[in-house]
Symmetry: C2
Subunit: 396 residues, 2 copies
């Protein structure tokens, strides 16, 4: 493994395998050309990790062309050359005139490149609901290529990504080790006189510094650090007030290594939790343990969720939101893969190599508890990606 | 000013003024209903700051209804109630069944709400090129509302946001103070034996901890910390290699307070810079000083850029990318407002209250230098939002 940010993370053979899987699926769907907008899918297929998706960027895969073609901003082409296996003729940058301009539209540039490079443009796959594939881009493409048929390829690559290779799982273990250290640091640092922002700074510091062996990078979402009456708000920013006493601190976070995530959430209770709160946490732990026990190849997402639901129902509890989701490569704004969810309507069958964040967060308006587990499905059951004990942490 | 994350940041009168400006523009465009997708525009009009835009979320403004209507995920409604002035009947959450599901589409929920709430749906403004307004959402809306006319409202609210109020500028000054501290910390900490990730952790730590008076939150983009041969790559992630000696460290970053940014970039040179590099930095400083001198109401963006371009041309230099962009509220993936740019084709006339990041970054393939300045246009000229000296920092 090369250091973070120093060249391509996997062997070329692994990328070849991934591209072959995508092309197989293109044949099945009778799609000759695929336009990929979602940064995580671009990273999966090329190794590209730069934060350039806030401007127009597309990876083009044509069934009859060996390598993908990157279309993006000229100042980012240097990163493509260093981070990926792409050769000069498949790196096609546009000039800065096209960036956030009222006169120049990068879709025109893309269309010109497609016409030049692609032997056919009969059936174009586009990621209709992807982050960063805008309504404007789609409307312009439809008008510019009136003779092409458009197919919805949303989540097509995401569903291929769902089975991780041993090399990917090795990186996710490293992310998990950093996640564990983030929560350990938070437990050690937290105190009633500390401001929420200062505790969050401790968590960020570890996310980025990583371990002495390997560093981290920014996760796709900020950490959530929720205390007091805000502990029932899953996605609110922290404040600069002092944490105070007799409050839960809900920390939901993830480390990130080479864009792979291993999320981890724990509740740290400062002071003395009321009996009702301890019972709530105990029920959550009983539920997550029962659900994790069920994990093995052949079981469905719905069955896992049902075990959780039936277990907590015995304590009179109910969680409206899903119990978890598939994880892997992520870029802002999300570390979820947007494919399988652990919920009653999801009949996805678990296979070895799939990875999930089981996220039994309960946010009950003015309080909440979060004790979660990231894992990979193995041939015989599961491997936990983080090792932090699954229990309420009480810091008196 | 209340603490970060503790209720709405501005007086209700300021939000009333903003909503009135939007409704005026809707009348001008003959638009009865406006659907806002861009999180920064939702924040501008309501105060809402939570990280919930990775799932479907829309703010509805109808010309004949006093307050906006928030449509989003049920678990985030608690944050809307705490952070904004919106009343219960205008907070309309959908259940978790709609989240990343193949069966349930939140656009159906939106359409049902529009039909129930809006007295007319004749001409709908949608933000065609906005982050988080997907091709899928637009296609579904078009099909669901066949009797409505659709208008492109992209950047409509962004252009209203471009003139900052005194209360907004006060927050941007606080962000600037944190940005200054981030660069100071980086200068103090950097050394050849430090890993890039450890230096980045120092920068993040200050971004979040802020100052003893006020804390920070996550910026819309990660810091860029580029050393050695990667100093010519503007958006690459840092590595976990040691920084080494005789290298520039290009730090491009921004603090964030209540979602307002004040970006700041500096190059720290560790060791002895070659004469050619010092001349490059001197030319950049000469160029930025000349361009900043030109800033006052009535001058165009293009004129500012021309002064820069002509100044550095005397040293045989040329920058292909734009010289800067409008700044203010931002959410991932961008702290730019996507409106005015400092470039030769932009005839926007500067007015008091506009804020820019002048970003004369030169990335020359295998090296680069970044010495930048965020400022607000004042009646008489400009106010710098950060105070760090504009010069190459050499740390022997």
């Amino acid at each position: 493994m090369r250091p973070t940010g120093d060249g391509i993370p996997f062997e070329k053979a692994e990328y070849d395998r991934r591209i072959a899987l995508v092309k197989d699926e293109m044949w099945r769907r009778e799609m000759d050309t695929l336009l990929i907008s979602e940064p995580s899918n671009i990273c999966y297929l090329t190794g590209y990790e730069a934060f350039s998706f806030y401007v127009f960027q597309t990876l083009v895969i044509h069934r009859d062309i060996e390598n993908p073609i990157w279309i993006g901003r000229s100042m980012d082409a240097t990163s493509v050359r260093r981070m990926t296996y792409l050769k000069a003729d498949t790196i096609r940058p546009y000039t800065d005139d096209y960036v956030q301009s009222a006169e120049w539209d990068p879709v025109d540039f893309l269309v010109a490149q497609l016409r030049e490079v692609c032997p056919t443009l009969q059936a174009l796959g586009v990621e209709m609901g992807a982050y960063y594939y805008s309504a404007r881009t789609h409307t312009k493409l439809l008008a510019s290529l009136p003779n092409s048929r458009f197919l919805d390829a949303e989540l097509m690559v995401n569903w291929i990504r769902i089975r991780k290779s041993p090399a990917e799982i090795a990186i996710m273990r490293e992310a998990g080790a950093i996640s564990d250290a983030m929560i350990s640091d938070a437990v050690e640092a937290s105190s009633p006189n500390m401001r929420e922002c200062d505790l969050t700074a401790v968590i960020y510091n570890r996310m980025i510094a990583g371990t002495p062996e390997f560093g981290g990078v920014y996760a796709s979402s900020p950490p959530y650090v929720l205390t007091g009456s805000r502990s029932g708000e899953p996605h609110a920013p922290w404040s600069d007030r002092k944490i105070g006493t007799d409050t839960p601190i809900n920390v939901e976070t993830s480390a990130c290594r080479r864009r792979y995530h291993a999320p981890l959430s724990r509740t740290i209770f400062l002071g003395s939790p009321p009996d009702s709160y301890v019972r709530l946490a105990d029920a959550v732990v009983e539920g997550i343990e029962a659900a994790l026990e069920r994990v093995r190849p052949g079981v469905t997402c719905a069955e896992i969720e049902r075990t959780w639901r039936e277990t907590i129902a015995r304590h009179g509890l109910n969680k409206e939101s899903r119990l978890g989701y598939s994880i892997g490569i992520g870029f802002p704004p999300s570390w979820g893969e947007r494919t399988a969810s652990l919920r009653s309507s999801d009949q996805t069958v678990l296979e070895a190599g799939m990875a999930f964040h089981m996220m039994p967060g309960l946010w009950l308006g003015d309080t909440g508890v979060t004790i979660t587990q990231s894992f990979v499905v193995t041939e015989s059951g599961r491997e936990d990606l983080t090792k932090f004990p699954r229990r309420l942490i009480v810091k008196a």
